[in-house]
Symmetry: C2
Subunit: 216 residues, 2 copies
DNA sequence: GCCTGAACGGACCGGTTCGTTCATAGGAGC
DNA sequence: GCTCCTATGAACGAACCGGTCCGTTCAGGC
């Protein structure tokens, strides 16, 4: 037997219970908001009880914080493994925008949690320990791309990487976060599959035309 | 005495009571979200009582709906009085973007209410009678500008007015709705006065360079 | 097998919150 | 001045909800 035995089915499994609570809570908080989510309801949807939520997370707020940190950790991991060094700057930039587009499309809970956290003035995120680690991965790749683009004379040289990041983010977040009021008012579903490629190309075009504006 | 007597201080003034409740509730819902806002708290901040909220609005949900409709009505009125017909297309487009930028900056409650309504899947807005009236004013001006731009050969002819509206909206809404998480992560306050002109010019540049891409 | 501590469940508690009830003050018309 | 109806206020109630208490079960070391 090795030191690490095969994880056979355990009746009592702290790690599993904890993970299940987080998973259910992520969806519940994203769906209902912080005040709207019910601890009883979250507990009912797990295979454990409310008592366990307090046992592991201390309370509703502790659970919410764990949910939020988990969601951010997942996108951060994704950003770090993006490799566009082998692409030319223009194509790399487009690829980065499309990756953000794809991620936000396939992680609606993340987009909603961010919106909810902003409703609360980001007070939880601000006091979170993992906060300071989040900026770098998101910006490093973009900074490298822009350096290469400038060096090759393809990009404008008066642009800030954070500005460009904001443009991409704004577009992709808006599509997810405001799709319902947008649909209600303009009767256009931004998540309609027939619209997907069009919008995906659009954020690419938009950001590329912006950083190359006034260049040959 | 004219038919309409001067509105002297009345002890009992239905219109005034109603308006005051709406005003307080707008700020409270925008600040706390629907589930987070407290009816008792709203009542306490007016010069009337909770009883009046139920008397005039039926309940919490009715009040929220009235708040939402009021907020949309105000921006709609603003859009309708925008006059850019005398400007050339490129300048008109920039002006429209800047007007949206300015409005969203000076009406943070509106931006937050929209975010909150999206958390609720726009279910209140969808069932609101005023919903269908909202699309036209927002789009009419833009459609006219783009027609003129295309006719003059200045703009691309493969663009949808709603797409362009989305770009402007995304940028301006993101700035207001996501400022707190953005600040927490990147340590940049999107509402910093020193950044205002830069960002205001940016959305103008962005949208102009997009609609004129590939044109002389 | 027994003992210890981690993992767990269900009942319960106290404060909060939406909504209601009862009572009444004030103005408009006669 | 009387009456009727709108506007208003204070207090109440019932459900809800976050959080806690007490007791139980399971796994593993010895």
């Amino acid at each position: 037997m090795t030191a690490e035995s095969a994880p056979r089915e355990r009746v009592r499994d702290a790690e599993r219970t904890r993970a299940e609570i987080i998973e259910v809570a992520t969806h519940e908080f994203a769906d209902q908001g912080y005040a709207g989510a019910r601890v009883d309801e979250i507990a009912a949807k797990t295979r454990t009880t409310k008592r366990m939520i307090y046992y592991y997370f201390g309370g509703k707020e502790g659970l919410y914080l764990a949910v939020l940190e988990g969601a951010y950790q997942r996108i951060r991991a994704l950003e770090q493994e993006l490799d566009v060094e082998h692409l030319e700057p223009v194509e790399a930039l487009r690829r980065l925008a499309e990756m953000t587009f794809d991620h936000h499309e396939s992680h609606p809970d993340f987009v909603r949690l961010v919106a909810i956290e902003n409703i609360h003035y980001a007070k939880h995120l601000s006091s979170s320990a993992s906060r300071e680690v989040l900026a770098a991965p998101a910006l490093d790749v973009l900074t490298r791309i822009m350096e290469r683009g400038r060096a090759a004379g393809l990009f404008r040289d008066d642009l800030d990487a954070l500005d460009v990041h904001m443009i991409i983010s704004a577009f992709c977040v808006f599509r997810g976060a405001n799709r319902y009021t947008f649909k209600a008012i303009f009767d256009r579903d931004l998540f309609d599959p027939r619209l997907r490629d069009h919008l995906r190309a659009m954020i690419g075009d938009l950001v590329v035309s912006h950083v190359t504006a006034g260049r040959p």
